[in-house]
Amino acid sequence: MIQNILDFISMDGNGFYIWISYFIPLTLFFSLVLVRKIKLNKILKKIKKNEL
């Protein structure tokens, strides 16, 4: 079981290239979504405040 997981992580000795090539884009996509969501929530709060 553990050996299977280690083999999966190692990806035939190319794990570094494969995991980094997924990690960087996915982190960037997630960060952009997060930044936009936070900004939208802030604006919606301000609009609510002004309406009150």
Binding site: S21, V33, L40, N50
Partner: protein, 243 residues
Amino acid sequence: MIKYFHKFANPVRFLKLAIPIKKISGIAAFFTIFIGLIFALLLSPPDYQQKETVRIMYIHVPSAWMSLMTYGFIFLSSVFFLIWRFPLFLILAKESVPIGIIFTFSALISGALWGKPTWGTYWVWDARLTSFLILFFIFLGLKLIKDTFSNSSKGNYTFAYLSLVGGFNLPIIKFSVDWWNTLHQPASIIRTGGISVSNEMLAPLFLMALGLFFLFIYILLVSVEINIKEKSLINFRDSLKNN
């Protein structure tokens, strides 16, 4: 068609339509990318030549497709803005730029990481890689104009015209592998002889591409909502000051 544009050029009407689409595309993006990753990293077979490194293709190729699609979208929105002068087209074009930068950067970085184990180098100055790097710089130029002249009419037109000029690079990127001898492989999906990739590999490729497409729609609509609501907030504050 112009009537349709007129109807949705109104920001309030546009947001009424955009908010439900945004929610659906957000959920669709999450699930499609999640399933795509399972196929890409676990279920798809290794390549007979490239072995496990072929898995980089499932993030590299969809990112590259999406960066080209994003630029195509900016190009068309700018054309529509210059013809019909609806500000909504300009907002759509401008808000697509940061998404395009991230897709292009992802394609470049994953391509470099794929190049090292397969070609023995992270980078070569061949036509495909260089034209793609130029696309990245065009995106950065558009971002610079967008941020520098955010509220001037001159800045808006400079943005629209520059995005039209940058459009020359799209066919160069697409046909660079046919026009010049490149280390980058020729097209294997959109080509005259038909698709040359096995179905087991096509499934994760299209799932990831679809997931990134939904993600593009989601981020774009959130950004447009921010832009429109920010402007309405500024207008509201200005009206308070004037009173």
